[in-house]
Amino acid sequence: MKKFSFKEIAVPAITLFLIAAICTAILAVTDSVTAPKIAENNAQTEIAARQLVFKDAKAFSDVKTVEEASYVEALDETGTVIGYVFTTSSKGYGGEIKIMTGIGADGKVTGMEILAIEETAGLGMNAKKDDFKNQYVSNTGDFTVVKSDAGENEIQALTGATITSQAVTDAVNNAVEIFRTVEGGDK
């Protein structure tokens, strides 16, 4: 049995504990400073994206829910509902893809923005380009992905990224579906 040596066991342990405690304290302070800023960033991205997908809207309602899906209403100057903004997601090649879709009261897509995407750079990431996103605009869905010669409600797949194109399209179709539920519920 070795004798308990204060110097060999306790001193290192206490030193290590002190270092860890100080580090944790510094982290807690940094977190309290940055956390509000991070939350604000996220909120701002959300608001900016809403405005991008629904350019005609002057204001947006609070978040509402229908059958577990949440959405916001797009309002004009007088506060009349002129459309909706939906946030939907699907599984892409590299992970979850989160998108925001604006749909007018007439059922036509007003815009689509990608909120989160982790696809292959140079291939799937091209989904963020306007050429791809604009294919959805003014169409009513349901969308199908084709490899060439896209017609109405057809989306031309990104070169080398069919899976990403399909995933984004699935998410938009989801939004269209929620739109139909919302509209159906109103009537």
Partner: protein
Amino acid sequence: MAEKKSLMKELTKGFLDENPVLRLVLGTCPTLAVSTSVESAIGMGLAASIVLICSNVVISALRKVIPSKVRIPAYIVVIASFVTIVQMLVKAFAPSLDEQLGVYLPLIVVNCIILGRAEAFAGKNSVLASAVDGVGMGVGFTIALFLMGFIREFFGTGTITISLINGGQPLWNSVFGENPILIFILAPGGFFVFGMLIMLANKIAEKKGKEKAQLHSCKACPMFATCTAQEKEECDR
């Protein structure tokens, strides 16, 4: 005077002669993973450099306080704290960079360069020398990442896009038109470009009469110090 000269040497050795990536072959994971574009490569280089400099300074300042028995866990705690601070700051003030680096940002904590420098340099040298060493190694890491990012983005997309310059638009039209050499920004391109850069660095080193870059699987690993004698022997085989 002599003091100044040796500090200068500590600073510049990391640029090429002891470049952490191209000569010491450390930190290969982030080098390959985030070098798909110049922007993310530089972002990673800077983030890792800040962590490296700060942890070098703190560890060097504490080198007489930390008992050698628990130095590795103590180093890890210090490094992980700085990584988390940098991560929070990036999230708050450069959210687009956070999106590009993703999981590789917290993974700076296991970047061999940082723990390696703590063990090999900061734990034994003065605060000033350690800070200078951190700057030199950080710049060397960033240079290597920039080279990788530039070559891969240039060939892979035909142009360079940096969001702070030119309003986030490509700096010029793709030189390959509609068909850039995509494979460069995919995984195989990363390995290939890295291999070619190591070859070039070897050539330059050879002219200076130095050895080729080698991957010492164990000696490069900062945990090597914790290995038992038997393990060290196994490893060298």
